[in-house]
């Protein structure tokens, strides 16, 4: 049958694409666990490379985790209020602000990093601290937090909900705490996962922003790829996969539409 044939063709194509994406991942995982990748899996499995990475690069792992969590805190603190304001005011000015906030994502990280260096590079205490990298990461991830929260706030009827709470006597802070925040939990969670994942993997800016004392995981990866044997690079990549995998899985589970659809029971009087 013609449609069956078409289906199989598309399926084969999709499987091929899938192979293109996944095969190198598997190869690199294997390489990180084999004694000698050139010889192949017969050379035996080992955790030696992973241990070498752990011994040589564990600081980059801790720094990356630290920066991504700090980045999360900052984006939560300044991103949620921003999203709230943008949701409350649908003016041209609000759109312009949103547009501006997205610029650090549109503009290549290299340019942003250079801009930060030419402006603040002379403040040596700041330049050499991990806060310098944090600033870049916040710039880059903030739009994701704002957008994600904003999307949820736009989907609920924020104005009316707030008016409802106000009519019951709630002050602004009570409304924000009791109504706004709980109702954009989904957006906050999705945004948080996004921010942590992106901060963990950010390289374009970080490569220029880092110093020998502030190497993040991707910076370490680039080092390892450039100067160490393939097995170590692979083992390091494996460590990175292990770190972002839970985040990605959570993100994916979250992106799925909520399957649990409650059907309202018939009105009791109808």
């Amino acid at each position: 049958m013609r449609t069956k044939w078409l289906f199989n063709l598309q399926l084969a194509f999709t499987l091929l694409v899938c192979a293109f994406l996944i095969v190198p991942v598997i190869l690199s995982i294997m390489a990180g666990l084999t004694v000698n990748y050139l010889v192949g899996i017969e050379s035996g499995l080992t955790l030696r490379w992973v241990m070498e990475v752990w011994n040589g690069y564990r600081n980059t792992i801790f720094l990356s985790i630290g920066i991504s969590l700090a980045c999360l805190v900052v984006t939560l603190l300044i991103g949620i209020p921003t999203a709230y304001v943008l949701a409350r005011r649908q003016s041209a000015l609000a759109r312009a602000i949103e547009e501006l906030l997205v610029m650090p994502v549109a503009v290549p990280g290299l340019a942003t990093a250079l801009a930060l260096i030419v402006t603040y590079g002379s403040l040596s205490g700041f330049r050499t601290s991990w806060a310098f990298i944090l600033v870049g990461h916040v710039l880059f991830t903030l739009p994701f937090m704002v957008r994600s929260v904003l999307a949820v706030l736009m989907a609920i009827d924020l104005n009316t909900l707030e008016e409802g709470a106000a009519s019951l006597g709630a002050s602004w802070w009570r409304r924000f705490r009791d109504i706004v925040l709980p109702n954009c939990r989904a957006g906050i969670l999705a945004g948080s996962l996004m921010v942590v994942t992106l901060s963990m993997g950010e390289f374009n800016m970080t490569w220029l922003l880092h110093t020998p004392f502030t190497k993040t995981l991707p910076v370490g990866l680039a080092d390892a790829y450039a100067s160490l044997r393939l097995e170590i690079g692979s083992a390091y990549t494996l460590v990175f996969f292990l770190m972002i995998m839970p985040l990605l899985l959570a993100l994916q589970a979250f992106a799925q539409p909520r399957l649990k659809k409650f059907v309202a029971e018939d009105d009791i009087h109808e």
Binding site: V17, P24, P108, V118, P143, A222, S234, L247, L251
Partner: protein
């Protein structure tokens, strides 16, 4: 007609005696001294809430970008540095190479993701979810890791080389060139593009296709006349992101080889090796402006919001 009073019924509805002393009755009508309007109070509150992000953003993006722009004009070529991307033969060549790779990446990614995305959205078969999960797994890979994936496939110890050597005796290695970079960008762009296409395909009304079929359109005509026009906004926005990423990304090229002549690498070389900060600033400012304009144009064309590139 006066108010209707039927006290008997009320007693049943509020059976409890006056329950609490907590209800605010007394002071609620006190008139505030200030005469600011509700609107003004709210605007003040919103400005206050926007302030942290505003200060951060101004201090660490707007001012640095302005600084970058000014520094771009302080080199030995002065403000002409901004034209050098056209006038300087080397820069112009790398601009062409960058744009070429970006355009090709965009086209190939859209074709691949269009086919697979619509297919996965339309046919729900066992394993569909796994396929989607695998296709979107590399979503958050940084450029360096993408570069390494390309090396695993097409590098000196890569799969393609090994297989080709075994088959033909010829070892095919193309990871460390523009071709490898192109492969990396396609790898990078497929996951997010597929997600965008799937989201758009979900919103396509199947009744439109049924209507087209009922009017006698062949499957091919349905794709051309209904599906592609329906997905056009998604294609434009996803394509713009592919393009912008391919123009501005740096990690992949950095991992593959410093010799790849694309603009981000040129900027990096100017900055670190030649210490020509002014030229690096001018070039990166131009690069940033180009990417931003492409995204802004695409946003206008797609009508919606183009989600930002990663």
């Amino acid at each position: 007609m006066g108010p209707r009073v039927k006290p008997g019924v009320t007693a049943q509805i509020f059976p409890s005696p006056r329950a609490s002393s907590c209800e605010t009755r007394g002071p609620i009508f006190s008139v505030p001294e200030e005469t600011t309007t509700k609107m003004q109070r709210e605007t003040r509150r919103l400005i206050l809430l926007l302030l942290p992000a505003g200060i951060f953003f101004s201090a660490f993006f707007l001012i640095p970008m302005a600084e970058l722009f000014l520094i771009g004009g302080t080199g030995k070529e002065g403000w002409a540095a901004y034209a050098s991307i056209i006038t300087n033969r080397n820069y112009f060549n790398s601009l062409l190479a960058t744009l070429g790779v970006a355009v090709l990446t965009t086209i190939v990614t859209l074709i691949i993701s269009g086919i697979s995305g619509v297919f996965l959205q339309r046919h729900k078969f066992p394993g569909n979810g796994t396929l989607v999960a695998m296709l979107t797994f590399p979503l958050a890979f940084p450029g360096v890791v993408i570069g390494f994936m390309v090396i695993m496939l097409a590098g000196r110890q890569g799969l393609i080389g090994t297989v080709s050597e075994a088959l033909t005796g010829d070892k095919i290695v193309f990871a460390y060139s523009l071709a490898g970079l192109f492969m990396g960008y396609v790898y990078f762009s497929i996951p997010r593009t597929i997600l965008t296409v799937m989201a758009a395909a979900e919103k396509l009304d199947p009744k439109l296709e049924e209507a087209a079929r009922s009017l006698g359109a062949s499957p091919f005509r349905v794709v051309v006349d209904v599906i592609i026009p329906g997905l056009k906004p998604a294609f434009i926005s996803a394509g713009a992101i592919c393009f912008a990423t391919a123009v501005g990304a740096f990690g992949t090229a950095f991992t593959l080889a410093a010799k790849i002549n694309v603009l981000p690498m040129v900027i990096y070389t100017e900055f670190t090796l030649s210490a020509n900060i002014a030229m690096a600033a001018a070039l990166s400012f131009v690069l940033g402006a180009v990417t931003w304009i492409v995204l802004a144009l695409a946003r206008t064309a797609a009508g919606g919001t183009v989600a930002a590139a990663g």
